[in-house]
């Protein structure tokens, strides 16, 4: 059971490394160390996904603005 949870955590970290922030770990919200790691990873994935989207939009805006620059 614990091995499954740890394997899921490793899988999630691997997904995040590929910039895939779609996965979430099933977890109880408690002070159990593995629950804490899972909860923290879920939050981190949410926030990183948010920031990646923002960065992408800013890059698009920047790219569009460059078209108006006088050479």
């Amino acid at each position: 059971m614990e091995n499954d949870r740890l394997n899921n955590i490793i899988e999630m970290i691997s997904s995040m490394a590929r910039l895939d922030f779609s996965k979430r770990l099933e977890t109880e919200i408690s002070n159990d160390p593995i629950d804490l790691i899972s909860y923290g990873l879920n939050m981190m994935s949410e926030e990183l996904e948010n920031n990646v989207v923002k960065k992408s939009k800013l890059q698009e805006i920047n790219s569009n603005l460059k078209k108006f620059l006088i050479p």
């Binding site: 919200i29 408690s30 909860y39 923290g40 981190m44």
Partner: protein
């Protein structure tokens, strides 16, 4: 002393000039809860920005939307500083995520002692 009890928090405003919020045991805040709590604080603020103590020791956390709302301009107008009271590893994790990812418009700090939190908050009166 004035007191408001919302779905997620008990909020007290007394002669200290500091708003004290205590999240109810095991509660997970959604955006609607965050907005309800800020509306309650606005009643005490009377157009001013007040220092706020938030006891998250029994909290289960909050949604991404609620965390983003607490870091918004709107909340920045009524809060001059925020002290988060934490003790357990869970509450420390929640507090650190909030400080790290959600940049508030006012100084925010984690404390394990209410007394030290109040001393710090009084510097913002």
């Amino acid at each position: 002393m004035s007191k408001v009890i919302t779905k997620s928090e008990t909020i007290i405003f007394d002669s200290s000039g500091i708003v004290k919020c205590c999240i109810h045991d095991g509660y997970f805040l959604e955006l609607v809860d965050a907005k309800e709590n800020i509306e309650a604080i606005k009643q005490f603020a009377n157009g001013n920005a007040l220092p706020v103590l938030v006891d998250i020791r029994q909290s289960k956390g909050g949604s991404k939307e609620s965390r983003a709302y607490f870091a918004s301009e709107e909340v920045g107008k009524i809060q001059s500083a925020c002290a988060l009271l934490v003790t357990s590893p869970l509450s420390r994790l929640i507090g650190n995520f909030f400080i790290g990812f959600n940049k508030t418009k006012f100084p925010t700090k984690l404390f394990s002692s209410e007394e030290n939190a109040m001393i710090w908050l009084k510097t913002f009166l």
